[in-house]
Amino acid sequence: MKVIVIGCGRVGSTVAKQMLAEGWDVTAVDEKEDALTRLGDDWPGGFVLGHGMDVDVLRAAGIEETDAVVVSTDGDNTNLVIGQVVQKRFDIQCVVVRLLDPARADFYEQRGMRTVCPTKTAIEVLTEAVRSCEIPKVTV
């Protein structure tokens, strides 16, 4: 199974490494060459330098024969456009898009996009953490 990870920052690079360890054929895409250092010196997967909105870059990364795409650049709108292009133009079923803004995540989720919103997760986890705190009652 092949996965392309577009946007290779802290999140993308770790996803790429994890998927590779699980036996996936992984190609990472990033517009900065520095991103390659996040993948480690002996990164055995693929790496394509370029912007994920560039169709030639997507083709070089093997978009025509991939099973899944993870879109995790640092720009929500960039991710939304890449996610839709990959879905509609290349007809890829498994596209997961990272979005930081919960409002846009909700809207695009309703339109059938698979989104992951770390902000929403953080809000839920933080709220739950506070709720489950054992706060000692202060006696006067």
Partner: protein, 221 residues
Amino acid sequence: MYVLVAGGGKVGANLARLLLRAGHEVTLIEQRADRFAALEEEFEHAAQRGDATELFILERAGIKRPPDIVLAVTGDDEDNLIICQISKEKYGVPKVIARVNDPRNQAHFDLLGISPTICATSNIMGLIEHEVPEHEDLVHLLELRRENLEIVEVQIDKDSPVAGKRVEQLNVPDGARLISVMRNGQSEIAVGSTELLAGDQVLAILQPGKEDELRRVLLKR
């Protein structure tokens, strides 16, 4: 009418100024603090600060009314595309116009149904081809996306099989029509009796995909 302008750079600020002068109601959204300060001085309450791809910023700017038209003219194609998509599909804005900064992104706007778009670079390229016609034999001047038609220009050269013939004698393909003939700086509407001569610049309207047939008829190549 009520116009929402997203992006207060040169394009957005000038549009807002023209629209206000024409008596329209305008809200101009700009994210950058330095730019916003200058805009606020000129446009006062019509300028609002924020990221126009954030739903609450759009709502604060009155997207729910909704505006008659949203102009997405930031310097960032992704932002323009998403602003238009959210405006149309979430808030039911009837009309949007998107600026395309990088012509390579045009295909993304087309794919996602964002239209009309305007790309200064593509327009200038079209003008270059128009001004220097020997560049290419068939020049695209205008794409009418909604009509699924395009207007092209063809220069008739001395080897052309149609030089010396009248329009009614030509076998112009279905889905294509000659519009006008320009000779020595003078243009006239092409009718059946119009004669074509070497050196003429002919405008034609056609359905996309008919270029090759038209090229064969007019230029034999």
